[in-house]
């Protein structure tokens, strides 16, 4: 170790002073200095200091540890959670220059968590406490001789499979009665016959994209199961904003560390490795999108083109899709040499469009459809039949579902719903049904 805790504190003081001058506004930072074993543990628990037990965390621990031991993977560049204060981890084994870079980077993330509107309903003040309490309750279910580890595990497996099939903005669920009252109102005031054939007894009355929420509310299951669903649904809602702002969040944090480190008056032996590290982090990945690279590039361009105020505005109101829609220009597409590709049955993987005059808009469109959680298929509850059969539909947008996965997920839904279920999608332009 080439530093002492005092060194970190001194550099932190310089960083926060500078950051304030830049107009950044973040939650207090709470750094925990950990060894690499603990770092990997924290990583697989998504940075949460207290997490319920599940084998999937054990699996990712083993995988990460193996890769780390083989030297195939360095440990994460940074790990910080959206909490207030923001809990961040610094790996003890890191050299001082890297800690400085990471601390500056964390200020950017925390500022983003605090100011981006996607995070408004994530309740960062209580997230750690909520998960700690959830962990205790789940442990109690495990120890309950009438429930036990196997049933709890099966429920958690199912919930994790559906974790992101919930609302993206943490909205509060509206009760069915409230929605129904609205429709009754609409029908009563129906002048142009729009609601003539509307079935007011349907459940739900509108497509319900909060699959987990619907199950939690309506399934005939014991309370402990409902509670576990609740925990996982909240967790999914908590993480959705991070999925939706991956590019922006990393771009903003990278710009923050880049600018702060430039102004820190660092001695050469610290500054040069920081620049090297920065370049490695924001380098493009061939054939893929590196969110650090794209986000950093775009924020730099916005600053050039519209000034720094525009950057602050974007970090507040945008999410990845709107960010790209609004700010990614033809010039950027050409400079980054973006192209879209897909697998064809006979041809293998071929390039569809490139960023030239005719192609760039299509490439941009394809890019946007895949970011901000766009790679997570959208499904919704269409109807709950009288016999309680649950009709779940996939909102097909031209991309087919992977059927092997869908079949397994169906089993999970069935287990949670505890009544029959039918699922509809399209495969190769044909309707497809499963139950």
């Amino acid at each position: 170790m080439d530093y002492r805790l005092e060194d970190l504190k001194n550099w932190d003081e310089k960083i926060v002073t500078l950051a304030k001058q830049h107009g950044l506004d973040w939650y207090d930072l709470d750094y925990e200095v950990v060894d690499y074993h603990e770092m990997i543990g924290a990583m697989v628990h998504h940075g949460m200091p207290s997490m319920y037990s599940h084998w999937s965390f054990g699996k990712s621990f083993e995988q990460t540890m193996n890769r780390y031991n083989l030297g195939a993977e360095g440990l994460p560049y940074e790990l910080i959670i959206n909490s207030n204060p923001s809990l961040a981890y610094l790996m003890r084994e890191n050299p001082l220059y890297l800690q400085i870079l990471i601390m500056a980077h964390c200020v950017g993330h925390s500022d983003f968590f605090k100011n981006n509107r996607m995070f408004r309903n994530t309740m960062p003040e209580s997230v750690i406490q909520r998960l700690r309490s959830a962990k205790k309750r789940i442990q109690k279910y495990v120890e309950d001789q009438h429930i036990g580890i196997d049933a709890v595990e099966k429920t958690l497996d199912a919930c994790q499979a559906l974790q992101f099939q919930t609302t993206k903005y943490g909205q509060v669920r509206r009760p069915h009665s409230e929605i129904k009252a609205e429709y009754v109102e609409l029908i009563n005031n129906d002048k142009d016959g729009k609601y003539k054939n509307f079935n007011i007894d349907m459940m739900p009355l509108e497509p319900d994209y909060d699959l987990l929420g619907f199950i939690e509310e309506n399934a005939r299951i014991p309370e402990w199961k409902r509670d576990i669903i609740h925990v996982c649904r909240e967790e999914g809602q908590y993480f959705w904003p991070q999925i939706q702002t991956k590019i922006m969040n990393e771009g903003w944090a990278s710009m923050t560390h880049y600018e702060l480190c430039h102004e820190l008056d660092l001695p050469g032996e610290l500054h040069i490795p920081i620049i090297k590290m920065h370049n490695a982090v924001v380098r493009p990945h061939f054939g893929a999108i590196n969110p650090y690279h794209l986000g950093f590039h775009l924020f730099q361009k916005i600053k050039e083109r519209h000034g720094i105020e525009e950057c602050f505005l974007a970090r507040e109101v945008c999410y990845d899709a709107s960010f790209l829609r609004q700010y990614l220009t033809e010039e950027d597409c050409v400079e980054l040499n973006l192209f879209s590709y897909s697998a064809k049955k006979k041809m293998g993987i071929t390039v569809d469009d490139v960023s030239d005059e005719i192609g760039w808009e299509q490439v941009k469109k394809d890019l946007i459809s895949g970011v901000a959680g766009g790679s997570i298929p959208v499904v919704y509850v269409d109807e709950m039949k009288k016999d309680r059969m649950l009709i779940v539909k996939h909102e097909h947008d031209g991309r087919d579902l992977e059927l092997n996965h869908a079949k397994e997920v169906m089993e999970h839904i069935k287990y949670l719903w505890n009544d029959p279920i039918r699922f509809y999608t399209e495969i190769e332009d044909e309707p497809w049904e499963m139950d």
């Binding site: 805790l5 970190l8 504190k9 926060v16 207090d28 930072l29 750094y31 925990e32 200095v33 603990e38 990997i40 543990g41 697989v44 628990h45 037990s53 599940h54 965390f57 054990g58 621990f61 497996d157 992101f164 099939q165 991070q242 999925i243 991956k246 493009p284 990945h285 061939f286 054939g287 893929a288 999108i289 590196n290 040499n337 973006l338 192209f339 879209s340 590709y341 897909s342 697998a343 293998g348 993987i349 071929t350 390039v351 569809d352 394809d366 459809s369 895949g370 766009g374 790679s375 997570i376 298929p377 996939h394 031209g398 087919d400 579902l401 059927l403 092997n404 996965h405 869908a406 997920v409």
Partner: protein
């Protein structure tokens, strides 16, 4: 100003997660392992070898897109053209959260690598040798020295220097002796009472003696495939016994018209030509038992693999020897290997011949194909598969 904390607790935050994961893997391995029991590679005795076992179901499933979706990539400074081929494989979708969503789709199996030792452990985890009676244990009781604290008397080799030194220091401190103040460099020497000796007690641990006879027909009538099946079967028995008991004797007897005791290596590799006189092997076994393994202090197991053929004039003698084995052995397992016969054919001569003797001591099994090895093993050893 930010807060800085050193991580202090020694608690391993993912210990439970990892234990649960391991349990899941083990369960899946046990399910997958039966497919490889008869696989050729497991006979190889190279203990360093590792086996790849296809394991199902430790995947996390979510709704994910298949392969007909478009991806976008960047390639600054490279020339990329429309319709250019950039890969053969179906490109897996990029998950929104790489550490959460399953990256590769549709694969229901993936390989887990386990060692030779682990393989055997998995196989036999829930099995026990049948009727392992406690016999009279005389000659190979294991004696172990167990430490039992310290004593003021003892022999020099058992002197505990550290304890003794501590006792001396204690006495020195109590006496208020300070070597720095000592006028003429006077030292504070050891006293008889300072010396502490480690004390040991002999603990006798009764250990179950067992001798296992492996008998194999190596006559010309055993084809390659038959030999292979026999070897797989013995491998299982071998590994099982080695795993469960430390003090165990194994005797290998191979025979055609004549029987001889051989080394393990030879047993599994040497083939010879000629007819079959099964009695010769049992006679040799009985002979060895009477000379080396008295039934009053040994549990005796005998396993015989044969294709069932025998010289008919040898049958009476064979039966007589078999009876003798039954009277002394805990278990006489007879395994008949018949890979080439059709489903209509009768069991071979020896199988029929032994049928009247079948009971607690004699068990007969048949192996016709590789899939039969594991069930045959189970039925012989009287164990059940692990329930989990």
């Amino acid at each position: 100003m930010s807060i800085f904390r050193e991580h202090k607790t020694v608690a391993d935050r993912t210990a439970t997660d990892r234990r649960r994961h391991k349990r899941k893997i083990e369960k899946a391995i046990r399910e997958g392992i039966h497919h490889i029991v008869a696989d050729e590679s497991i006979i190889s005795k190279d203990g360093k070898q590792k086996y790849r076992i296809p394991v199902r179901g430790i995947k996390e499933y979510r709704f994910v897109y298949g392969s007909n979706g478009k991806q976008v990539g960047s390639a600054p400074g490279k020339d990329v053209k429309r319709d250019q081929k950039i890969g053969d494989q179906q490109q897996p979708g990029q998950p929104a959260q790489p550490n959460k969503a399953g990256g590769d789709k549709g694969e229901e199996y993936y390989d887990v690598e386990i060692t030779h030792q682990e393989l055997a452990e998995y196989l036999f985890a829930e099995l026990k040798l049948p009727e392992l009676q406690k016999r009279q244990f005389s000659n190979i009781d294991t004696e172990k020295l167990k430490r039992k604290g310290y004593r003021p008397q003892g022999i020099m080799p058992r002197l505990d220097r550290k304890k003794s030194a501590i006792a001396r220091i204690k006495r020195m401190k109590a006496a208020g002796f300070d070597s720095n103040l000592s006028e003429d460099g006077e030292s504070f020497s050891f006293h008889e009472d300072d010396l502490k000796y480690r004390h040991y007690k002999i603990k006798k641990k009764p250990c179950t003696n067992a001798v296992i006879f492996f008998v194999m027909d190596v006559s010309g009538s055993m084809s390659q495939e038959k030999k292979f099946l026999a070897r797989s079967f013995y491998f299982l028995l071998c590994q099982f016994l080695r795993l469960k008991y430390e003090t165990i004797d194994v005797v290998f007897i191979s025979h055609h018209t004549e029987a001889k005791e051989v080394e393990e290596k030879e047993f599994f590799t040497v083939a010879s030509l000629g007819g079959t006189k099964a009695s010769s092997a049992l006679e040799l076994a009985n002979d060895i038992i009477s000379k080396r393994y008295h039934p009053s202090s040994w549990n005796i197991y005998l396993f015989q693999c044969s294709d069932g053929d025998n010289f008919s004039e040898d049958n009476d003698k064979f039966l007589e020897e078999a009876r003798k084995i039954c009277s002394t052995a805990q278990l006489y397992g007879y395994c008949e290997i018949e890979p080439e016969t059709s489903w209509m054919s009768d069991a071979g001569k020896l199988f029929q011949l032994l049928r009247p003797l079948q009971g607690n001591k004699l068990k007969e099994v048949r192996i016709n194909k590789r899939d039969d090895v594991w069930p045959a093993f189970l039925s012989l050893m009287g164990g059940t598969q692990a329930e989990d």
